[in-house]
Each structure stands twice: as C-alpha cells, then as structure tokens.
Amino acid sequence: MSDREAEFREFVGARMEALRGLAYLTCGDWQVAEDAVLSALAKLYVRWRRIDHPDAYARTAVVRAAIDETRRPWWRREQAHSHTALPDRVAPDETHSVDERLRLRAALDRLPVKQRAVVVLRFLEGLGVEQTAAALSMPVGTVKTYTGRGLHALRLILDERAEGRHANRNV
C-alpha cells in the first residue's frame, strides 16, 4: 500500500462517521446519506494528492452530494410517499433526548434542502457566512437570508411541537 493510500485510509477512518451525520442532516435519510458520503469520498480518493485542505473539501463534497441525491427522480417519488406517511406531529417519546432528536429531525425535514444545508453547515459545522457561501456556491446574501429563514422556521416548528407536547401531556 502506498503512503498516499495509507494517508487516505487514515483520513476516511477518522472522518467518515462525522461526514455521515453531516450528510444525514442535509438530506434526512441515513441510506441516502451514506451513498452521498461514499460518492464524495470516492471523488476525494482520485484527487487525494492534490487537495490542500481535505477536511474542507470532504465537507463540501458531502453536502453537495447529499443535495444532489435529493434531486434524483426516485428520491422525489420516495419522498412523496414518505411525506404522506409522516405524522403531522411527532409523538412524544418516553425519553426526552430521543424526543428532542425526533422533533428536530422532523423540523429539519420541512426546510427546503438548500436552506437545510445552510443551517447545517453554519450550526453543525460552525462555518462562517462566507465559507458557507463558498461551499454551496451561493451568494453571501442568500446564505444570510437562508440562515434567518431557516432558524425562524425551525423555531416556529419546534415551538409548535413543544406546545403540542404540552397539550398532550395536559390531557
């Protein structure tokens, strides 16, 4: 095995799990997220010797791949079915943390995919506005708008669900 391949393997071993989470939050489906990560890391393999900042490259490639996956025709068909199957409100769970997780996942699922990607890059990965704009090839102004809209929408959805949970508990 070459040094190059050994370095690549080490990088993938260290980062794959985090990239899987990033892709999942972007596209909302673990299986699709894994396909996106595989596709992005395969591209990285080809260009490995030439990447100055592998972390940044991998992060961007994964988010873009996750967005691309949601544009495939079969995805739209699947989503059309899965949305009709999704409950309008997530039933509260016995375990608070699981409940919180489900609530946020459902809330994220209701954001348009690029808005979701902006929120994820900014608040999961901690990227600045300009870094996010570069990663998603969109103007800085759009990133700011999507950040504001995304947070506002999430807040509304989460508040709405919290109210629903309280209502359920009061019954």
């Binding site: 095995m1 070459s2 040094d3 190059r4 391949e5 690549f8 393997r9 993938v12 071993g13 794959m16 799990e17 899987r20 989470g21 999942y24 939050l25 673990w30 299986q31 894994e34 990560v37 595989l38 596709s39 890391l41 395969a42 591209k43 990285l44 393999y45 080809v46 260009r47 010797r49 030439r50 990447i51 100055d52 900042h53 592998p54 972390d55 940044a56 490259y57 991998a58 961007t60 490639a61 873009r64 544009r71 495939r72 025709p73 699981v98 919180e100 997780r101 946020l104 996942r105 929120v119 994820v120 608040f123 999961l124 901690g126 870094q131 570069a134 990663a135 947070l151 999430l154 807040r155």
Partner: protein, 361 residues
C-alpha cells in the same frame, strides 16, 4: 440560539444505524472512479483491470527528475498538424440521447449516453468512436470473450465481455473504423443498458460534419518533446477542461486509450505526462486566491503548480513530475485563459497549442 442550535443538530445526528460502508468500500469506490475516469469505460474493464493492478505500486519515494525540460517557445516544424476535430454530433434514438462528444484523444472521441427519465447525475453509458485506422481496441485485450451479434449497418459487430463480466458492444462503423458502447455498471451483472439498447444506440450512430475541438486556454510554450494526446471537459465534475500531453515516444495514435489517469504506473513512460487542467474548485481544494500568483505546493513530492484566475472561480493547474518547479511555474504563468464558463470564448485546439506540440506538427 447558535449554541442551542448547534447542540440540537449534534443531537439530531446521534444514534445512527450501523454503517453500510467502511473504509475498504470507500477505497474500492475511489479506485473504480479512477479507472472510470481513466478509461471512460470505453476500452473495457480488461484494460481497467490491467491498470488497476498497478495502483498499489505507486511510488512512495520522490519521483525521478529526468533531464530538466526547459519550456522554450516552440517552433513550427515542416509537417502540418493533424486536424483536431469531432466528426460526429449528438443524436437521439428512442428514449436515448447521445451527447456531443466531451473527449477527444489521438485514438478517438467519447460521448455520454443518457436516457429520458434516467439518473441525471450519471449517464447510462459511454459511446467511444475510434478514428479510422485505429485497430479494434478490444480485440487485443487479454481475457475478453467475444460473442457474435448480427451486423450493424451491414458491418461486423460483437459483444465483448471481460473477465469480470463487464459487457461492451463493438462494431465497425466504417471501413477500418471501430466504435464501442459501454454501459454504466453498478457491480457485476448490474448494467444500465441491455444488449438490445446498446445495439439501438449503435445502429443510430452516424458521422457528421467535422467541428473543431475547443479548449478554454492557449499555451504559447510546451516543453519540447511533448505531444497533445487528449482534450476533454467534464462540466458535472467541476473540471471544465483537462488536457494531456505525452512524450512523443508514447504519443501513439494507435494506442486504445491515451488517458492513463492521475496516477499512472510510475514505471511507465505515461508517468511523465504533462496535464493542464482548468478546475472549478471545491473549497479546500486549492490554497490562496487570485492575488496569490502561481503556487507550487511541495507536499507529495511537488510536481504541480497552479494559479487562481481573476474572479476566484476557477484555477488553472499544471502537473508533471519531470518538469522542474520553476519551469512548471513559468508554464502556468504563460497560459492565457479564456472564460471557462463560456464555451463561446474557447479556442480551437489546433490554434491553442504550438504546432510542434501537435501530432503531425
């Protein structure tokens, strides 16, 4: 809100299902992708396998520096360069459409095959049309099984299958001229086109008016002894243009594939290739910006220089292990780039490179 949202997002990504892929799967996918870029699927997996076994042999020591090559203004020689043209255009047949060619090599031209309602992220297959006089590219490959099929356009045709079962359709489209349809493969037995569909695409193929191959830059100097062997663009891959030159001793129009990938066998003559690429970078891929000038990173034994183009949207990069750093940097400095995002500004390849760097020149 920032901290709270960050915590919530981290929490939302917890508790994932067991992973379906591991590091080995990623490396395999990377090697597949490397082979696909290298062969364009078109010369079959037989060649791809032959190339793949060289991958573990990648050098782990600094590559040799053969005699320094000084980029000097090229002088047009007595010969007239061969015309660098595409000789067919896009066409449709049933639900399939074949793009205008995206790749020209000394051996042939390649185009994407897409299907109405197919996966927009990936073509169904690749059509490669070899220039007249280039020998059947599959016949000489070891381990390829040939199965006769009825003639196409009145000329001989056969299905070739390599050791891994990867199928391809080979037919003669003119006297002493061959073409190949190779479907996308998601694994053994899982191919994007049936044999009937491959025949359908082949039967509808026809030559058209010659149109010049265009590239988004002009080079006034090319290291002596190098010849242009490949020009292609891959807009979906963030690689608007890729050009390869090989030493004249191996720049042979009869080889079935002149693209030996980013990591050719380091012991072969192809490893001395010179590649010029215009890249639409992903953040993190290249350091600096257009104010940084030409940069030549020393990491991984060097062998590459690049500069950002005005606007910081594209990068032009040169890679060659045998041209010394200062000379490679000088070569990059002198590349005159058009607008990579606007094909109308691109230049015919015959005018974009010194005649001495073109076969026949």
């Amino acid at each position: 809100m920032r901290t709270e949202m960050s915590d919530l997002l981290h929490q939302a990504a917890q508790d994932p299902p067991p992973p379906r892929y591991d590091v080995e799967d990623v490396v395999r996918a990377g090697k597949r992708r490397q082979r696909r870029r290298r062969t364009g699927w078109a010369v079959g997996a037989a060649l791809a396998v032959a190339v793949a076994v060289t991958v573990p042999q990648i050098v782990t020591h600094p590559p040799r520096r053969v005699q320094p090559v000084t980029p000097t203004p090229s002088v047009t020689t007595a010969g007239k360069p061969r015309a660098i043209n595409f000789t067919f255009g896009g066409y449709t047949t049933g639900r399939f459409s074949v793009s205008t060619p995206f790749r020209w090599t000394l051996a042939g031209m390649s185009a994407e095959i897409r299907k109405k309602g197919g996966d927009p992220a990936s073509p169904e297959g690749i059509l490669t049309v070899y220039h007249p006089g280039v020998a059947d590219p599959i016949a000489a490959e070891k381990g390829v099984k040939r199965t006769a099929t009825s003639p196409i356009g009145g000329r001989p045709a056969y299905f070739g299958t390599d050791q891994g079962g990867f199928p391809m359709l080979v037919w003669q489209y003119a006297a002493d001229a061959y073409a190949v349809v190779a479907p996308r493969s998601a694994g053994p037995g899982d191919y994007a086109m049936t044999k009937a569909e491959m025949r359908q695409v082949a039967a509808a193929f026809h030559l058209g008016n010659a149109t010049p191959v265009v590239v988004p830059f002009r080079m006034t100097v090319v290291p002596p002894g190098y010849r242009l062997v490949l020009a292609q663009w891959e807009p979906t891959e963030g690689l608007p243009a890729m050009i390869r030159f090989l030493p004249v001793s191996v720049a042979n129009p009869r080889i079935s594939d002149v693209d030996h990938g980013p990591e050719p066998d380091p012991h072969s003559a192809y490893a001395d290739q010179l590649r010029i690429e215009v890249v639409k970078p992903v953040p993190g891929e290249f350091a600096g910006d257009s104010s940084s000038g030409t940069q030549c990173p020393e990491a991984n034994h060097g062998g590459r220089c690049y500069r950002w183009l005005p606007g910081d949207k594209y990068v032009v990069e040169a890679l060659c292990r045998v041209v010394v750093k200062d000379q490679l940097a000088g070569l990059v400095d002198r590349i005159e780039v058009a607008d990579p995002g606007n094909r109308a500004t691109w230049l015919p390849a015959n005018r974009a490179f010194p005649a001495s760097a073109q076969v026949g020149g």
